[in-house]
Amino acid sequence: MDLESAMTIAAAGMKAQSVRLRVTAENLANAESTASTPGGDPFQRKTVSFANRRDAATGLELVTIDRYGVDRSPFERRYEPGHPAADAAGYVKYPNVNPLLELADMREAQRSYEANLNALQLARAMIGRTLDLLR
Amino acid sequence: MPTATNAVSRAALAAYEAATRRAREETAAPAAPAATPRFEAMLRQELEATRDALRASESASVEALTGRGDLQQVVEAVTEAELGLQKLVAVRDRMISAYQEIMRMPI
């Protein structure tokens, strides 16, 4: 593995963290999205998991999205009889999203993204410095 | 272990010795005989000092490259070796041009 590999690996890391950021942002944006029909299910929290797999094109092990999933924890139920999505008993199902957790996850994803970016920049700096020797 | 820098300094020493010997032979009579050996001795001393500085620089660099070694030491050793070599080259260039001037003198 060399510096070019380092750049490829870091770029894959950035891509993966971007996906994670997007998913977390979507969860946050839909934290209060209920169904439109009575008794219907609201927005269900989405999850994403990573895996380190060999990429055929480059021959390197790159981090990638293992799968997209949904969080199966129960929905929150609030008593709102006047709500369009209220069921017969007057309860509305709300998404199983905790905004605080999503925010924390977003911060982590951002931090990891920046760490990967830093790795990319360092590898590029090292290549650049070697090239400079030719000047 | 022989290195290019050591081989070069040895070759340089040989070249200087040859140059001084010929300069002395050509201008034997007018030059003060007592002064010339002292000059050669001084030159040899300079060469050896530079060679030592180059060796020190090399070993400090090897230390740094194998993960040990003090950065400050490397900086000092390399700088000193570089300065020593440049000084030597300056002296040598002056000597060669003086020799050439002497050679151009009509008999």
């Binding site: 060399d2 990573f50 380190n52 990891s112 790795a119 | -």
Partner: protein, 134 residues
């Protein structure tokens, strides 16, 4: 036969080691959230490791240090070791980002040192060789 210039061989080996280390560290950072992933690092390379090479075939002889070096014979990769601590996340991931960033910074500085040394010794050689011409 002209002996190989030790110092330049070391610098070349060191450069290679640092490049590979950077790739290993990048891999760690990219997998900071991969379940079960444990970070790795290169074993510190000593004198012999930096110069190490597989038994090679014939190589053209360099009669002067300023001649371009022939492409080096196939060299093996450096050894990696598990560098994860005892602490791991619930998913089994053992990567600590601050540690990885610190190692990367050290690698970068080492690379600067190696490259600068290379420049200086090349300049030294040119100065010395200049003295032999004319």
């Amino acid at each position: 036969m002209q002996p190989r210039v030790l110092l330049f061989e070391l610098m070349s080996g060191r450069s290679r080691w640092l490049a590979e280390r950077q790739a290993v560290l990048s891999r760690n950072v990219a997998n900071a959230d991969t379940p079960g992933f444990r970070p790795r690092d290169l074993e510190p390379a000593g004198f012999a490791d930096l110069l190490g090479r597989k038994a090679g075939g014939l190589e053209p002889v360099r009669t002067s240090p300023v001649h371009l070096a022939p492409a080096p014979p196939e060299r093996g990769a450096f050894r990696t070791v598990d560098a994860g601590g005892a602490e791991a996340s619930p998913s089994g991931n053992a990567v600590a980002l601050p540690e990885q960033m610190q190692k990367m910074a050290a690698t970068e500085l080492d690379h600067q040192l190696t490259t600068h040394l290379y420049r200086r010794y090349m300049a030294l050689l040119r100065t010395a060789l200049g003295a032999l011409q004319s």
